[in-house]
């Protein structure tokens, strides 16, 4: 390893025993290495990581491809007509099938999606909609307070235009068929809006 002869000093003849020892050592190290790799691979823990995944623009399949654009944009139905709880509750709510049937027992009954809907209705089955805008369990978000702040107690904001407010977090659902998650909905997203609008900065306002 070193240039000068002094430092080169090759070890004279390896004894048989020594060879065996080095083999054993090599074995030992390789076993240790494999144990380490196996153990490290095991170290994946459920719930260990904070939620990531912003589902940016990701499609969430629904039992019936509900066209938001036809309802909200073309026909101009207010968001809160179907998502009734938004103004008075934590959750916005998914309309019950009866609410759909209120119109669709008459309107567009021949369309395939409506036929599917009627089928659910007649079989007394629940439509299992999938949640698109889901925040982690440790987040306390109320639709009520946000709607109060931005719609009902917001001068100059007409309730008819509530979809503009909804779009803060849900994106322009009017232009979507099946709703997609287009905003990150992570903490930074919330905090920036709270800062801009003098929302509370107390941790326990949003965490639970």
């Amino acid at each position: 390893m070193f240039v000068s002869n002094k430092f080169l000093s090759k070890r004279r003849g390896k004894g048989v025993g020594q060879g065996k020892v080095s083999q054993c050592l090599a074995m030992f190290f390789s076993v240790l290495a494999s144990v380490f790799i196996v153990a490290a691979a095991q170290a994946e823990v459920p719930n260990a990581k904070p939620p990531t995944g912003t589902h940016s623009g990701e499609d969430v399949p629904q039992p019936i491809e509900f066209p938001h654009d036809i309802h909200a944009d073309i026909n101009g139905i207010n968001c809160m007509y179907c998502h009734t709880y938004a103004r008075r509750s934590k959750v916005a709510g998914i309309p019950p099938t009866s609410k759909c049937m209120g119109c669709h027992s008459i309107i567009a009954t021949d369309k395939p999606r409506i036929k599917k809907l009627t089928e659910y209705w007649e079989n007394n089955e629940t439509i299992l909609w999938n949640k698109v805008h889901d925040v982690p369990d440790f987040v306390h978000f109320t639709h009520e307070k946000h709607l109060q702040r931005f719609v009902f107690k917001n001068e100059g904001m007409d309730v008819a235009n509530v979809s503009e407010v909804c779009a803060f977090c849900h994106g322009d659902v009017k232009k979507m068929t099946v709703a997609k998650k287009v905003k990150p909905l992570n903490m930074g997203f919330c905090v920036r809006c709270h800062e801009a609008n003098d929302g509370p900065s107390d941790c326990w306002k949003c965490h639970k």
Partner: protein, 175 residues
């Protein structure tokens, strides 16, 4: 113009020392002590008596780094604390002096050390290629005296080296 680099290797420091002393006394006209580079295996602070005080700006780097570290540290911490949205804590202040003094002190030292090291690297011309005349014997036990000079002085310099029992003379010409 061609520049000549000549290096003489001496077996001990005294010989190199007296060689440089003679150069300082203008033994060779046109060669001054400023052209001399001493290459030694150990540190010789004494040589500065002959080479002249060439100074070292490294402490200035330290001072700058330390001041920067302390100020930056405090401002960074203070602005972070002021920006921290959840302020109220145990009746304590927002910008707490005791903790900020501790942390600014650590930053002072960290930046002081980093700046000193950077100053050293720059001033000592480290991380550059070794001079072609570099001899491995310098790292062992011999002392090298290297001069950068014109062609006309090379021979007289070699004479001077030989007078002081030089062991080996190496030279190099560069453009």
């Amino acid at each position: 113009m061609k520049r000549y680099y000549v290096m003489g290797l001496f077996s001990n420091f005294e010989e190199a020392f007296s060689t440089i002393s003679e150069i300082r006394q203008h033994a060779i006209p046109g060669v001054t002590v400023d052209d001399v580079t001493l290459k030694s295996p150990i540190e010789h602070p004494e040589i500065e008596e002959i080479l002249g005080d060439r100074g070292s700006p490294v402490p200035k780097f330290s001072l700058f780094g330390a001041i920067f570290g302390a100020i930056f540290g405090f401002l960074f911490l203070a602005s972070a604390q002021a920006n921290f949205l959840t302020q109220p804590q145990g009746g304590k202040a927002i910008i707490t002096l005791p903790s900020n003094i501790v942390l600014s002190y650590e930053m002072l030292i960290l930046f002081g050390v980093l700046s000193t090291v950077i100053g050293f690297m720059i001033n000592a011309r480290l991380m550059t290629k070794r001079h072609p005349l570099y001899s491995e014997k310098v790292s062992l036990d011999q002392v090298g005296v290297m001069l950068e000079l014109d062609e006309k002085n090379v021979d007289s310099l070699k004479e001077l080296f030989k007078k002081h029992k030089v062991l080996e003379i190496r030279e190099e010409v560069s453009q």
